[in-house]
Symmetry: C2
Subunit: 266 residues, 2 copies
């Protein structure tokens, strides 16, 4: 049914036969500022992709638009990149490179480290709203994403949690961060498109919602909070959520310690 040769499924650029970029420009020498060099190369293409995605969003991004930005014909890019999907996977890892991970030997409290990792992740997702949409699409195993995942794992382990609970707890924290950053980033992008501040956009939507009887019950539940300064509000909610997760981790850890202590006592 399939072709005669056993072929691994192509699940990610990073799992291709040659995981490194198709070609890498090797400058003939260090001199002569290549600022406006006409030649393309993989890094220039990925950088331009990130720039365009930030400026105009994923919806408006196209290979033709990118080519125009690079002052080149649409098909030139295909010399360096196999498909649009591959290019987007490269762009995602370029964004992941902005994540700040603690150095390996640090002795900082695991709670502080976890908070730092969460915040750096959230900030990146808000800076690059297109990343959230693509993370769901791909396997996301580029080198920088992997470095971050590894650091997160190290921090979770250093909390003293038993090994079999690590993946669940990591999922709780980082899926939360991902979802939260997604909503924030998307909302910010919407506001930019509409030419409004976040507070203005929020009160416009609220004004419309308030005219509707269908939303009565939800309104009663939502109304208890100040609607001004939506960004500060979100920062507070984010902290509460992290506090909750950290408190939960401590409970799970203590529970496990008590149980293993009992075992030892018998």
């Amino acid at each position: 049914m399939a072709s005669g040769r056993t072929r691994t499924i192509r699940a990610s650029v990073w799992l291709n036969d040659r995981p490194a970029p198709k070609r890498r420009a090797e400058h003939s020498g260090p001199g002569g500022g290549a600022e406006q060099s006409a030649g393309l190369d993989h890094d220039r293409i990925v950088a331009a992709t990130v720039r365009l995605l930030d400026a105009e969003g994923l919806t408006k991004f196209s290979m033709r638009r990118l080519a125009a930005e690079l002052g080149v014909t649409a098909m030139s890019v295909y010399w360096y990149v196999d498909t649009k999907d591959d290019l987007l996977e490269f762009a995602v890892d370029a964004a992941a490179a902005e994540l700040e991970v603690p150095e390996e030997g640090t002795d900082a409290d695991w709670r502080d480290q976890l908070r730092l990792l969460a915040v750096t992740n959230r900030d990146m997702l808000v800076r690059h709203p297109w990343v959230s949409r693509l993370i769901g699409e791909y396997l996301n195993i580029g080198p920088h994403a992997m470095a971050f995942a590894t650091a997160a794992q190290r921090v979770a382990i250093s909390s003293g949690l038993p090994m079999e609970q690590i993946p669940g707890v990591l999922a709780l924290v980082y899926q939360f961060v991902y979802g939260y950053g997604t909503i924030e980033g998307r909302f910010a992008a919407r506001c930019r498109e509409a030419g409004l501040t976040q507070d203005e956009y929020f009160s416009e939507v609220m004004a419309t919602v308030n005219e509707r009887p269908e939303f009565e019950e939800s309104k009663r539940l939502m109304d208890s909070r100040p609607s001004t300064d939506i960004e500060a509000m979100r920062a507070r909610d984010f902290e509460v959520a992290l506090d909750c997760a950290i408190a939960g981790i401590e409970v799970l850890r203590d529970r496990a310690r008590r149980e293993s202590g009992q075992d030892a006592g018998r």
Copy 2:
């Protein structure tokens, strides 16, 4: 700068001038099984949309494909729906209608209710992987989504948590569920496309990863768990995460009670 008339931003179908479907078919009578009735109507269109999205995914979905499915020309659909975006928003709320929410007067333990809401949400996201992608896109304030959000809020409040911590904790739980369901659904869809079971796909990817030296460190950290039966593994991780969140909520609640108790004692 803008047009003379003050115009609210169009942020969602549900906030349109006429939030109800553009037209609703009003059957002339109850008789005569309309099974193969040639006429379109809003509900038939949304139902066909959901069916197509489930079967072929968001990427392959198009207005032309949908029209073909309905045995109609591409532009007929536009009589009932303004844009593709509006239609997708309707489809998202149709999926949200599948969420099971506890009836209002229930006296079940809030922990059980929270777990039920989380599970029903996760299952829906896995059944309809396209929902995750669209939730990030739109405001998601359709009637069924709102009913679910309201139920979730009620459960969180019944935990005894102080009001100002409710939004943060809700974000922790439901952004986690959303992210987790997203990954699961996307992975399942990938496997279906490749014609493999989830376990087969997983071990294929793992086999490729294992050949690579770049992944050494991450492998050491991941290797500690059994790779068989990936679905059972994910169910366990999901439970651990919920346990962690619930334990965290209890801690926050007790902390707040102690503080307000102190205040009362002074």
